[in-house]
Symmetry: C2
Subunit: 209 residues, 2 copies
């Protein structure tokens, strides 16, 4: 399995544009989140050590720890999405000649679907966490780089919304109704936080700009 983080950006984009099943949309959502987190971290770093922001140093350090933790998680989720999707595709290619084979294949597909739904669900939940950080950074961070927080929030919102599409597709084919309902609820909660959060960042940045 390719570890895309350790390969060139050009290689990732070329593979994404190719007809191979992965990487696909799920990984771009995670990467969009990683870029959003990186921009949030950059603004924290440009706030630390500046005399005019001396009053918020400690809080900014805490925010930076959170945004860097989320960036790491988004980076891992990008790879996990590619791997989960690869395993799901493989399960669809299992033999289905005998009734026993069909049962084995069906069980495998159902298990892989859960996995393939959980990864983008976590992307959306991480986006919800990150947008809250962006909100606070927009309030107290270095005012000369507010546009970077805003772009970070836009990328975070794309990450959350894009990953949610992948979750929903997998939920549609899952048979465990209780689990479908549970994951659907988690998704709805996270998506609401993301869309409310990005609006709040927009109005904070507008007010300070």
């Amino acid at each position: 399995m390719n570890m895309y983080l350790d390969q060139t950006l050009q290689h990732y984009l070329d593979d994404l544009a190719s007809s191979q099943p992965a990487p696909g949309g799920g990984s771009t959502a995670a990467l969009s989140g990683a870029m959003g987190a990186a921009l949030a971290s950059m603004v924290c770093r440009l706030t630390l050590g500046k005399e005019e922001y001396a009053g918020v140093q400690q809080e900014t350090e805490g925010l930076l720890r959170q945004t860097e933790k989320l960036r790491l998680r988004f980076q891992q989720l990008m790879q996990e999405d590619i791997e989960a999707y690869g395993r799901l595709s493989a399960s669809y290619r299992l033999p289905r000649d005998t009734s026993e084979e069909r049962a084995t294949r069906s069980t495998a597909i159902q298990e892989r679907l859960v996995e393939a739904a959980l990864v983008p669900l976590e992307v959306t939940e991480c986006a919800a966490g990150l947008i809250q950080c962006c909100q606070r950074i927009a309030e107290i961070g270095n005012a000369t780089v507010l546009s970077d927080v805003m772009i970070g929030a836009i990328l975070t919102s794309s990450a959350g919304e894009g990953a949610a599409l992948m979750v929903r597709i997998n939920l549609r084919t899952m048979k465990n109704e209780k689990l479908v309902a549970e994951l659907g609820e988690r998704l709805g909660r996270a998506l609401t936080l993301v869309s409310e959060g990005v609006q709040r960042v927009r109005s904070i940045v507008g007010g300070r700009g």
Copy 2:
């Protein structure tokens, strides 16, 4: 100057999160556009050669040529943004002790500001072109990967909106009022196409899904 496309994805994300002035938000917008274009290309490739889509082969080939051309341009713009921003930052650091130095510095800043505005403006204009491709791909492309077109459209919209923030910041400091008005109009036109386009992709995908 680092050529980020030829370096690892991890390296780009680490530099983005650092306190160095570039790469920043502008480059993430261009990269978001490149990912959107790559996803659109992937869907075209998964439509070509399929019997059920035989009637749209030629049109899909034409769309693929366009999305790959746009991907290449977004990739270049990502690098150009980093370079233009670097030159603008350097012009702000020019000496300003004598009145002659101040005049030279001011002229340099004004020139670099135009450059630093034109790059993200082209990102937004490319996003407007790409979203039109996404629309048509959503109408005629392989129905099993419509979510990838939709995520592509979301990333394209982030690219256009994010880059527009960078354009506006540079326009604010530019002194040539005629040019400010002209670039502002181009930006407004492109942004309208992007936001109308993404809504249209959403409703087409919703109708086919």
